[in-house]
């Protein structure tokens, strides 16, 4: 009886159907300060207010040290704000849990488990505890799960011969493919990716971007994607948040630009070659990284203003 309930629960790993406008992630007046080694403190995020709706793909862009990864770690539950609140899936974040899937830049896979074991690890935990694995029902469930995992891995571009390999036997790109499959197998409402593709070569990166986009379109989790790469942010995201480093004495939020990106279904390789994309890319790059180049005033110009802004879209 208990096992049957657990099985039902495990099968309901599927993201619940939500209204499109439902807020999935909310950061309210979030301030984060770090103590410095020589005394004093540094404010990384200052009174940050961000709301991300269910099913959005949000890229966070900005210079090094502007608080992109800090933001992600707070949503994950790995760090907590000094002031303000972080809410995920309607509940405040108090610890790391399965509400968020996580794909870091490195060490994304358990090195002591094969590709298949890595992908099955989460759903097996969701099905039952360690002791429940002696029951035949678990092994039946595992067979079904294995079929699902095989489909997922094939979709992510792996070959069946790779399933029994250990992460150390795979290339960096393959490892990240498995890491995404591992996270998606849990069907989390939120998927957090911290510079997940930054260590990959351009061609692997491009193919992974396409696969991530396809996977997102299929299951529509809410994605928070931290990156340094402007074109990656614009290609993948439906919304881009540009953060800037907080300067002492400033009272406003770190969010420099919060804009909607025109979203199409055309392949990324085609999209990245269009003139509109190049213009948009150049403009956002200037917004995100100009301060370090010239330090001039950061005001969105015509092109970005033409994009539907978050406030505009709601009207």
């Amino acid at each position: 009886m208990v096992l049957r309930a657990m099985e039902r629960r495990a099968k309901q790993r599927v993201m619940p159907v939500r209204a499109a406008a439902e807020t999935e992630i909310a950061l309210r007046d979030v301030t984060v300060r770090y103590k410095l080694a020589g005394g004093g403190s540094k404010t990384v995020l200052h009174r940050l207010n961000v709301e991300i709706r269910a099913g959005e793909f949000v890229a966070v862009l900005g210079e090094t040290g502007c608080g992109k990864s800090t933001l992600l770690r707070m949503v994950l539950g790995q760090e907590f704000p000094n002031e303000g609140a972080v809410v995920v899936d309607g509940k405040p974040v108090r610890r790391i849990d399965a509400r968020c899937g996580y794909v870091p830049q490195k060490y994304a896979l358990f090195p002591d488990r094969s590709v298949m074991q890595n992908v099955l690890y989460g759903p097996e935990n969701a099905f039952c505890g360690w002791m429940g694995r002696a029951r035949p029902r678990f092994w039946r469930f595992r067979r079904e799960l294995r079929a699902e995992a095989t489909q997922m891995l094939l979709r992510m571009g792996l070959k069946s011969g790779d399933f029994s390999k250990y992460p150390g036997q795979l290339s960096g790109g393959m490892q990240q493919r498995v890491a995404i499959a591992q996270a998606l197998m849990m069907r989390p409402p939120v998927l957090l990716m911290d510079e997940a593709f930054s260590a990959l070569d351009p061609s692997t990166r491009a193919s992974l971007q396409q696969q991530l986009k396809d996977a997102w379109q299929e299951t529509k989790p809410t994605v928070l994607f931290v990156t340094h790469n402007t074109s990656e942010a614009l290609l993948l995201a439906t919304r881009v948040l540009v953060l800037r480093p907080h300067a002492e004495g400033e009272t406003e939020s770190n969010v420099l630009v919060d804009m909607q990106v025109p979203h199409t279904n055309e392949p990324l390789s085609v999209r990245r070659r269009t003139r509109e994309f190049e213009q948009l890319h150049e403009h956002v790059k200037q917004l995100a990284f100009r301060e370090s180049d010239g330090g001039t005033e950061l005001v969105p110009t015509g092109l970005v203003q033409e994009m539907p802004r978050r406030g505009d879209a709601a009207e």
């Binding site: 994950l76 790995q78 610890r95 790391i96 849990d97 399965a98 968020c100 899937g101 996580y102 870091p104 490195k106 060490y107 994304a108 358990f110 090195p111 002591d112 488990r113 690890y121 989460g122 935990n125 969701a126 505890g129 360690w130 250990y166 150390g168 591992q182 996270a183 849990m186 989390p188």
Partner: protein
């Protein structure tokens, strides 16, 4: 010409010497050691035929035979019709090996909780705050200085020696496991929690599984200190054991027994080390 190129390959950092060359060379020092010993032994015996410090090959073989087949002096003699196997299992070497092996085995088993404690200290903040400072201090206590206390508390039998070994090596192993577990990337722990792991899942199925090969290597490196503490205990107060016999034979200048015993201990540790290495490779093929 071929031999010449073989030597050149060996002397070159980028060289790829043939397996035959490397295998042969790995035995050179053994052969050299035996040759030098025999040379000196023969020279000493030429000067003094009764020399007991460096027994000849024949004397050593007789010593091995005596260690394997002869009973210890302190035991009751076997019946005249005793079989060869009975003589071996009642022989000095067998009896001492079993006695020391028992102590060594129990100590190794008692080191498992030390490993788990180190793991818990690295993973659970409560265990870290309670134990870390204590073990950092306790590790600096010279274990041999505790021997009188151990004799008083545990008596001069088995347990004082076992505790000496555990106290001597345990804290090092605790701290080593702690450091290994702490070095597991934080991303792995975070990832495990996002995959619905419990605290114990993270500790045992994620962290311990990842550090296990290094922990086994750490145990391998600690085999010699463990044997050292065993020998110290047995030499000071014991009625059997390999070190007891060596100490006993030293009084009689019985080098023909001491040398085989010494090589036997080294061989046992070598085999144990190799077994652990093999187990490690089988248990952790990914490492």
């Amino acid at each position: 010409m071929s031999a010449m190129s073989g030597w050149l390959e060996l002397a070159d950092i980028q060289g790829r010497p043939k397996r035959m060359w490397t295998q042969s060379l790995s035995w050179v020092l053994f052969a050299l050691g035996v040759a030098v010993y025999l040379q000196f032994s023969i020279a000493r015996h030429r000067e003094n035929p009764d020399d007991r410090v460096m027994p000849t090959g024949t004397q050593l073989m007789a010593g091995v035979h005596s260690a394997v087949m002869d009973q210890p002096e302190e035991d009751d003699p076997l019946a005249d019709g005793a079989s060869r196997w009975e003589r071996v299992t009642h022989g000095m070497l067998w009896k001492d090996t079993v006695a020391s092996g028992e102590r060594f085995g129990i100590s190794l088993l008692l080191l498992i909780p030390a490993i788990l404690l180190g793991l818990h200290m690295a993973v659970f903040p409560l265990a870290e705050s309670v134990f870390l400072r204590f073990f950092l201090f306790f590790d600096k206590i010279v274990a041999l200085s505790l021997l009188p206390i151990l004799f008083i508390v545990f008596g001069i039998d088995q347990w004082s020696k076992i505790m000496l070994m555990v106290i001597g090596v345990g804290p090092t192993l605790v701290l080593d496991t702690y450091n290994l577990a702490k070095a597991v990337p934080r991303e792995q722990v975070v990832k495990a929690f996002t995959l619905k792991s419990s605290n114990l899942d993270v500790a045992y199925r994620v962290v311990l599984k990842q550090i296990l090969p290094q922990v086994i290597n750490s145990v391998r490196l600690n085999l010699k200190p463990l044997a050292l503490f065993l020998f110290a205990g047995e030499m000071i107060a014991s009625t059997d054991g390999l070190a007891y016999r060596i100490a006993l034979m030293r009084r009689h200048m019985g080098m023909d027994i001491i040398l085989p015993y010494l090589l036997w201990v080294a061989l046992l540790l070598f085999v144990l080390d190799g077994t652990l290495r093999l187990v490690n490779r089988r248990l952790n093929p990914w490492y």
